[in-house]
């Protein structure tokens, strides 16, 4: 029995009633990371001393009867593209391998204000570009349920550390499914909030109009707790929503009877793994039995979601990643001596000059293949003569996708479907075939394109022993509805309580 078998809410109650000290919780978390993480590889950086010091400070203040924050003493892991002033922030890229931001992201500042313990930084696909965490330039992360399989991505490290009970709470980011898909692959609960619900200030941008930070936890209740502490308007982020933050924990306690759920029949009946089809269908029976009203519904334009996404996201990325040029910070390629240059490089040197050559070599060696692929895609799509055919057209389709949702939410309160067409795949299975990797995002990208919330919760396990995710989506700022449905489901089932086999 580990302290970390408890949910975040249970731990919080133990801490608040002085039955455990923050230092015990953090020590337990650190020792589990030390013992269990090496074969999994979720963490890129463990904030050992800082976390212990912060925990002792919480204990001291609690002992003195001084006020403490809403998450006082709870360890939280951060996907390593959220800026922390006291820890490296690498984006799992060579480009930022030694980068230490001089400032905290707004979510980090809010977590510190809530006295959460920032326990470390988790692995991801390089700059969050990927669906398996295989594109991390720094480390491989394995799926705790089967180490031959990927944890999903790009928030693979955060998903794996939650699934392994290393920490109770983690933050991920979701640009096209990067919270929900690894949550599904690792059998945990992951919420992508409405665009603008959580500040992006200090989140290193992949695709600014799609990126959103969200909680990754073991249950919807814990997700509600973490969302509560991080959501809200931020004047440093012009795109953050000035919309009141509801009481999520209060919301989840409401019964779901009478809530109308639209079943995304087309997604379910498409080329989805039969075990996923069965698990998702069974989940609808559970929700129906709890009083939810189900009907089939269609999002006709969502079939264009992947194509649209893979224009818009690379376009924005090509510009967002232009700053990594070796001039001001981060990686800079060393200049080769004349003898080390290939003949063609010598010729290039003649024509391009030392500055352009430094740019080229830095970006050539600093970025991995997937990042370079997307930068090239985006640069191409934004180029004169192609802009209208790609970027502009994609923006038009994006509006159509949003309209599909708006129409659907006139009829129902939430949409239900599978998170992914398949369970977690094996390493290398898709990394050589980018298109098949991209197509795996089919069910998740539309929510990002429409800026709407989506939630993934475990709803089954395949015969092979891999988790299956249930996708719940809702209209703008419907996080309370989604969490309420998820919580009701988790009260009625125990899929979220299943643990990977210990090896």
């Amino acid at each position: 029995m580990s302290l970390l078998d408890h949910s975040a809410l249970e731990l919080l109650a133990l801490l608040q009633s002085n039955q455990v000290r923050a230092e015990q919780v953090v020590t337990e978390s650190l020792s589990r990371i030390e013992q269990l993480d090496p074969p999994i590889g979720s963490f890129l950086h463990v904030n050992h001393d800082g976390a212990l010091a912060a925990a002792r400070d919480v204990d001291r203040r609690r002992h003195l009867g001084q006020p403490v924050g809403a998450l006082a003493g709870l360890p939280v892991a951060l996907k390593d593209l959220i800026c922390t002033i006291d820890q490296p922030t690498t984006c799992a890229s060579r480009m930022l391998a030694n980068f230490r931001p001089p400032y905290d992201a707004t979510v980090v500042a809010r977590l510190r204000a809530a006295d959460a313990i920032l326990i470390g930084k988790t692995n991801l696909d390089e700059f969050a570009m990927g669906s398996s965490t295989e594109s991390s330039a720094l480390q491989r992360t394995r799926n705790p349920w089967n180490r031959d399989h990927v944890p999903g991505g790009s928030s693979g490290g955060s998903a794996a550390c939650i699934a392994s009970d290393l920490v109770p709470l983690a933050l991920g980011t979701d640009t096209g499914g990067s919270i929900r898909q690894p949550a599904a692959f690792c059998g945990i609960t992951g919420l992508k909030p409405t665009y603008g619900r959580v500040s992006r200030y200090g989140l290193i941008a992949f695709a600014s109009s799609l990126d959103q930070i969200g909680p990754m936890c073991r249950s919807a209740a814990d997700a509600a707790l973490l969302l509560q502490a991080t959501a809200g308007h931020d004047r440093h982020d012009s795109t953050s929503a000035d919309v009141e933050v509801p009481d999520y924990l209060k919301a989840i306690a409401q019964p779901i009877s009478g809530l109308r759920i639209g079943i995304l029949r087309q997604q379910l009946d498409s080329d989805v793994d039969p075990e996923i089809h069965r698990a998702v269908t069974e989940a609808t029976y559970v929700l129906k039995s709890l009083g939810a009203l189900c009907q089939d519904i269609d999002l006709p334009h969502s079939q264009y979601g992947v194509a649209t996404y893979y224009v818009i996201a690379p376009c924005e990325a090509s510009s967002n990643l232009a700053r990594y040029d070796g001039v001001h910070y981060g990686f800079r390629a060393t200049q080769l001596t004349a003898a080390e240059l290939t003949a063609s490089e010598s010729a290039d040197l003649e024509s391009e000059g030392p500055l352009v050559r430094m740019y080229r070599r830095t970006r050539e060696t600093g970025f991995g293949a997937e990042v370079k692929r997307r930068i090239m895609l985006g640069t191409y799509a934004l180029s004169a003569g192609y802009y209208d055919a790609y970027y502009l057209k994609a923006q038009r389709v994006r509006r159509l996708i949003r309209q599909d949702f708006d129409r659907a939410y006139q009829q129902v309160d939430a949409l239900l479907g599978p998170v992914t067409p398949t369970p977690a795949f094996r390493f290398g299975e898709k990394s050589q075939d980018p298109l098949s990797m991209y197509l795996g995002d089919l069910f998740t990208v539309s929510a990002n394109l429409a800026g709407l919330p989506g939630l993934s919760i475990p709803c089954g396990i395949t015969v092979q022993g891999l988790p299956i995710g249930l996708h719940l989506q809702g209209p703008s700022f419907a996080e309370p509805t989604l969490l309420r449905l998820a919580h009701a489901f988790q009260q009625a089932t125990d899929w979220h309580a299943r643990r990977p086999p210990t090896s």
Binding site: L81, I82, C83, T89, C91, L96, F99, P101, P102, Y103, A105, R200, Y201, G202, L203, I204, A205, A207, S208, S209, R235, H236, D237, S238, T239, C315, E316, S318, S319, L321, A322, R323, D325, V327, H328, Y329, L355, V356, Y359, T379, L382, S383, A384, Y387, Y391
Partner: protein, 508 residues
């Protein structure tokens, strides 16, 4: 393809056989305390890289937030330039690589600028150019880049980057190619700068880079004898690096001649070569080809997803319009119609800036005579300012005192002949009017006393009376001199008239 012309260049002084086509892009630094998308100060001259933050140095994860004041100042300017302000404007990224551009893109405005389709009237009564309406294509807001300092450490081929300036708000005002000479270009810039300073939206300091000008210039050369006459356009050249209006004027003059000579030599027309950028070399007074620092001409503009579009309602615009300060052109008109000032003098006063114009207005309102006020301000005040190297802000004679001085002359309390002397003493010794008058012993002399004095003088000088009656009116001058000797406050003109009147009366 037109063959190179065989004609020789026209002799110096001959009418130029072409029309000069100039359009100007003016970058104005708006007078905000902080940068366009962060809260860093924009004070000039701070040590390098001390006015920076994660946003303006483009650190990963940092996000821009619009400075509302900068947007407000740009709306004020655009309204004053008679621009349309669309209800919706957005921000775009202009992507290019350069070390002083830390994000790898500049936040600017591409296809939906915050204003468009305006104009600026040139009405130069001083005769430097004709009355012209110069159309303005657009004015848009953008952030400045940093500063690259090349080779500033002796013996090291380093470039150092100062990012203090990065993110400074600039309003780029783009004119139509409506300017037809370097003199017109200068007049446009002068009027634009005047307007900006009247509005208070910029300090327009060219040395500190708060006003920068790029010029696009080419020539329209009529060829052949057909009707309508066939026009050849020379390739457009963009001139950069001009750091004074005088430099703009000279660079344009040089470039016009250079283009004409080049056309004669090569016959190259617009479209036959890419747009060229040339830099003005102020020392050698030539333009030189410049490699554009923005290597690529494809900036891959797209809407900045980190910023939200700005919407402006008609009500908001009207509210801003109603607070607009009086513009130079309106003030000139007011001086002419309400104060009886000549167009030439109105130009002189208004072009000195709002403070001098206010000084004039106060003088004129005090003395009630616009023409006299104008004479004093455009002659004595401006001359004294120039000689003493003074600004109107530091001018020792307050406008009300000068107004009272003029009033005293009009009321006969101060002899016209001594008014400049009084002005001089007030200026030198920084005294008010009353103190100056009493120090100089100037008192009003009433006309009864003057008539008595005249009778005495005429009685004592019958020869003068006879001379005058014989038609030698100038003989009276001797008596005027005697009158001044007996009382220095005597106004010679007034005295002369009294004496002549007395002689006429006695004769009648």
């Amino acid at each position: 393809m037109t063959p190179p012309p065989t004609s020789t260049p026209p002799p110096v002084g001959a009418v130029r056989p072409y029309t000069v086509i100039v359009g100007l892009e003016v970058h104005v630094q708006l007078a905000t305390h902080t940068k366009l998308f962060c809260r860093c100060p924009v004070k000039f001259g701070a040590p390098p890289n001390t006015q920076t933050c994660p946003v303006c140095i483009g650190l990963p994860g940092a996000l821009p937030v619009l400075n509302e004041t900068a947007y407000y100042l740009s709306v004020v300017t655009a309204l004053a330039l008679n621009c349309e302000i669309p209800a919706y404007t957005k921000w775009d990224r202009k992507n290019y690589y350069y070390p002083d551009l830390p994000k790898g893109y500049q936040i600017s405005q591409f296809d939906l600028p915050m204003s468009c389709n305006g104009w600026l009237d040139l009405s130069d009564a001083q005769g430097r150019c004709s009355n012209r309406r110069i159309r303005i294509i657009r004015a848009h807001l953008e952030e400045d880049a940093g500063k690259s300092m090349h080779d500033e450490i002796a013996g090291r081929a380093d470039t150092r980057i100062d990012l203090n300036r990065t993110g400074t708000p600039l309003l780029e005002i783009v004119s139509q190619p409506d300017l037809r000479s370097s003199a017109e270009a200068k007049a446009y810039l002068t009027e634009l700068k005047l307007l900006l300073t009247y509005l208070g939206v910029s300090d327009c300091n060219m040395q500190e880079g708060s006003l920068r000008v790029d010029a696009n210039v080419n020539l329209h050369i009529p060829v052949g004898s057909g009707t309508p006459e066939e026009i050849i356009e020379t390739p457009i050249v963009e001139i950069k690096n001009m750091n004074s209006f005088r430099a703009v004027e000279r660079a344009l003059d040089f470039e016009v001649d250079r283009q004409y000579r080049e056309w004669q030599a090569t016959g190259k027309q617009k479209g036959e070569m890419p747009k060229q950028t040339r830099g003005w070399d102020d020392i050698h007074e030539v333009t030189k080809p410049q490699r554009s620092k923005e290597e690529s001409s494809d900036y891959r503009y797209f809407p900045d997803p980190d910023l939200v579009p700005v919407t402006t309602t008609t009500d908001q615009l009207e509210a801003i319009r109603s607070t607009l300060k009086e513009l130079p052109a309106a003030l000139r008109l007011r001086l002419i119609t309400d104060y009886g000032v000549t167009p030439y003098d109105a130009d002189v006063i208004v072009n000195q800036g709002r403070t001098l114009a206010d000084y004039f207005l106060a003088v004129a309102d005090q003395c009630g005579d616009g023409k006299q006020a104008c004479n004093w301000v455009t002659q004595e005040v401006l001359r004294s300012m120039k000689e003493g190297n003074l600004t109107i802000e530091s001018f020792p004679i307050p406008s009300l005192e000068l107004g009272r001085l003029i009033q005293s002359v009009q009321a006969g309390k101060l002899p016209r002949s001594r008014a400049k002397e009084v002005f001089g003493v007030m200026l030198e010794q920084i005294l008010d009017l009353d103190t100056t008058l009493s120090r100089l012993g100037i008192q009003a002399v009433d006309s009864g006393a003057l008539t008595d004095l005249g009778r005495e003088l005429l009685a004592a000088n019958p020869k003068v009376v006879a001379d005058v009656q014989a038609g030698k009116e100038q003989a009276i001058g001797a008596l005027v001199g005697q009158a001044k000797k007996s009382n220095p406050n005597v106004d010679p003109g007034v005295m002369r008239q009294i004496l002549l009147d007395l002689i006429r009366q006695s004769a009648g």
